[in-house]
Amino acid sequence: MSHLDTTDDTQMTAAWMGWYRFSRNPAAIIGAAIVISVLVMAALAPWITPFPDHVGSVVDFRNRHAPPSAVNWMGTDKAGRDIFSRTVFGFRVSLLLVFGVLVISVPVGAVLGMCAGYFGGWAEKIITGLTNVMLAMPPLVMALAIGNVLEPTLINAMFAITLLWWTWHARLVYRVTVSVANEDFIEAARLAGAGPVHILFREILPNCIAVISVKTTLDAAFVILFGATLSFLGFGVKPPTPDLGSMVADGRQFLPEKWWEVLAPGFAIFYATLGFNLLGDGLRDMFDVEA
């Protein structure tokens, strides 16, 4: 090889450059720290909370509506249960909801979006048409409708959100696929004998991973907020299992005197949502994508 045709030895890998951008972004680091703290709290809830048994059907009427103190850091609720303990456990339900919704809607949306973008024709018409119809439906109305037809439970709420959520991913992945599908490397793979499954999952999907992961992180924040909204409206888990939205709903009746009863779960919703949003923005800068 000629001495004129060499690579630059000082070249940096894309992963390292991405990490550099991420690590120099204070908001992203704070977001990552918050998300990690939420995950750790949810995982270790029985060991780090002062009253883990207050998650169950404990009633302590002598101590009901107690303001924050050294024993009950965030006070107690109408049944005398420790609000701090219940809030930490409340993260578990929120994260379960996030996981349940995204584990189904992201892959479904991604596959449909890739099919629409790569195959074109009728696949494109049907999938993009369906996406547009679904996007036109207000998710809250959809969730309330399904909850009323079936049963107002967390599972049904999850089902309702999932039914609508894949459309965002389908649309996003569709857009990326359309721009990638005409690249020479796709045709080259086809000429080399690759079938559609290989092209979709090995050639196109790796190019979508960045946008999907950014969108998924931002989604987590939305789903937490949306789940809290639904449980606030009565689509929660069965009592006495704590969940952030219904804790706010319960405490609301005693406002403004018993302000601490909504403060902890309300702040928890804010904290988790903020964390996922900051992390998502940081990832977006790191991958340099539009999502």
Binding site: M1, S2, L4, D5, T6, T7, D8, T10, Q11, M12, T13, A14, W16, M17, Y20, E183, D184, F185, E187, A188, A189, L191, A192, G193, A194, H198, R202, E203, P206, N207, I209
Partner: protein, 562 residues
């Protein structure tokens, strides 16, 4: 008299926590009315030098030492506002890409007027709209846009690439600068248009007494537009001197390598590839292709891409399809591969695929940056064709064999495309094509995205591979000097038709069609001897086949062909 004096310039870029020096002690000067060319390959620091002079360096660049003086004025000691005032009046830049330099929602006149209005304001002059318009019309006439009124009111998309390049030159001339900096002018355009643009720049420089700093990687362009030459490499000026001295007796090995890498058009260095008389592989007879228009109202009509194509590609030959953008050469190649079907005529594929291969032909694309999946390693890319041609146990060994064939280290299997240089990426693309065991490879401008020295190594590799593997090539290119040495037969295409066919030696010695002659005569060459051997073109022929200076027609952009 020295107009521009760059002295001991050191510059570095910082990013991602590291600092990299991009200019090392760069010193040169440009005299009044002198034409100086700055030659260098990608990443040599030539554009950075121009930006340092203009004062348009990006934020992460820092000047670590040295000075730039313009007419005795030390630029680095000027205030920002004073440096702003120099832009356009002391020196101007002619931008490289005429196709993306205009905002499509503003008329051409608006672009020119904006520049003039703000430049006037910076200098504290008040000008009326009518007076500015008169000055703009004058400038447009100066760049040989005769119908200045029409150009003034045109939208960017209504003008051809050559006309837009002229408007860019007009933009640079608006305020009568004393020095022009031209950054690869016309390289985005066809060779005949580029030739016109270079003539225009030369004439303007001579008539207006301007100094010219020509930044280019094309040595042929340098010969036409420079009195003195600076050769730059890795941020250092490795050689400088008068044109004749550097071109006739280059001192540095690097300069000699650069010169040797340019394929000659005429002379003893020209290589004639042997003509093959073996059996035909692909025969096209009377082939015509019409791209159907998709629309509500104009269904049925269409765009005639190619017409009456008669070609035979024999086994073992290197068949060249030459032509400018929109001439239909890519359409022909895709029909040969069976990727497009012809509208009329016959395509007979008589060659059979090799044993174990799925297809007779494979393709190597123009831009290795887009023909390799950025998210897949070299090994993953190569595994796709190998999955069809090899049993799993042999794949690893075959991959290593392929990389060795294209002269890359075996360790590159685990690299991603962004870790490779342009030439290395193109080698991987060639390896991928070879992995599918083709007997015919279509080369779609395989070297036009590469530097000239890298082009030479890739072309040499292709010739070796053909020798050792018994391949047949069809190459599509607009670069006739490359094709002169690489092809055993060539066909020249113009507006979808083949106007000339034969061995390169025949075509270059006595081109019958005036378009071929115009095309050959527009190629920038390295020596005066070659220049003298080029066919002569009458002004009348030039006017017939080239985008002419005068009013110029709004060139309809061919769709779907290139």
């Amino acid at each position: 008299m020295t107009l521009l004096d760059v002295n001991g310039l050191n510059m570095s870029f910082s990013g991602y926590g590291r600092t990299r020096q991009v200019l090392h002690d760069v010193s040169f000067s440009v005299g009044a009315s002198e034409r100086v060319a700055l030659i260098g390959e990608t990443g040599s620091g030539k554009s950075v030098t121009a930006k340092a002079i203009l004062g348009t360096l990006p934020g992460n660049a820092s000047v670590d030492g040295g000075s730039i003086a313009f007419d005795g004025l030390d630029l680095f000691r000027q205030s920002m506002a004073d440096r702003e005032k120099l832009k356009g009046t002391a020196f101007s830049i002619i931008m490289q890409d005429p196709l993306s330099s205009f905002n499509p929602v503003f008329r051409i006149g608006q672009h020119l007027d904006d520049v003039m209005y703000y430049a006037d304001r910076r200098r504290g002059e008040v000008s009326s709209a009518a007076e500015r318009k008169a000055r703009i019309h004058d400038t447009l006439r100066k760049v040989q846009l005769a119908d200045a009124g029409r150009v003034y009111n045109a939208w960017p998309f209504e003008l051809s690439g050559g006309m837009r390049q002229r408007v860019l030159i007009a933009l640079a001339l608006l305020h009568r600068p004393r020095m022009l900096i031209a950054d690869e002018p016309g390289t985005a355009l066809d060779v005949t248009t580029q030739d016109e643009i270079l003539r225009l720049i030369n004439r303007l420089v001579a008539e207006e007494g301007l100094s010219l700093l020509m930044i280019t990687h094309n040595l042929g362009v340098v010969r036409q537009t420079a009195d003195r030459v600076l050769v730059m490499r890795h941020g250092k000026i490795v050689e400088q001197g008068p044109l004749a001295q550097v071109f006739d007796a280059p001192q540095e090995q690097y300069t000699r390598d650069l010169m040797a890498a340019v394929p000659p058009l005429y002379g003893p260095q020209v290589v004639d590839q042997p003509v093959s008389h073996k059996t035909p592989m692909i025969t096209l007879q009377g082939v015509k292709k019409v791209y159907a228009k998709r629309g509500l109202f104009n269904r049925g009509e269409g765009h005639l891409a190619v017409d009456d194509i008669n070609i035979t590609v024999n086994e073992g030959e290197i068949f060249g399809l030459a032509g400018e953008s929109g001439s239909g050469k890519t359409t022909v190649a895709r029909m040969m591969m069976g990727l497009l079907s012809q509208t009329e005529g016959m395509i007979a594929v008589t060659g059979a695929p090799a044993e174990g291969a799925q297809r007779l032909s494979q393709i190597v694309y123009q831009n290795p940056g887009t023909s390799l999946n950025p998210k897949r390693t070299v090994a993953q890319t190569l595994s796709v064709p190998l999955a069809r041609t090899e049993v799993p146990a042999d794949r690893q060994a075959r991959m290593e064999e392929l990389l060795t064939l294209v002269r890359l280290p075996v360790s590159y299997l685990s690299k991603y495309p962004h870790e490779l240089s342009g030439g290395q990426k193109q080698r991987v693309a060639i390896a991928r094509a070879l992995a599918a065991k083709p007997r015919l490879i279509i080369l779609d401008e395989p070297t036009s995205a590469l530097d000239v020295s890298v082009q030479k190594t890739v072309i040499d590799l292709l010739l070796e591979l053909r020798e050792s593997l018994g391949l047949t090539y069809v190459i599509i290119s607009h670069d006739l000097s490359l094709m002169r040495n690489f092809c055993s037969r060539i066909a020249i295409m113009l507006k979808g038709e083949i106007v000339e066919q034969g061995t390169p030696a025949e075509v270059f010695a006595e081109a019958r069609h005036p378009y071929t002659r115009a095309l050959i005569s527009a190629i920038p060459v390295l020596t005066a001897e070659e220049q003298a051997l080029k066919p002569s073109v009458t002004e009348e022929e030039r006017a017939r086949f080239l985008v002419t200076s005068g009013g110029g027609q709004a060139a309809p952009q061919a769709t779907g062909t290139e």
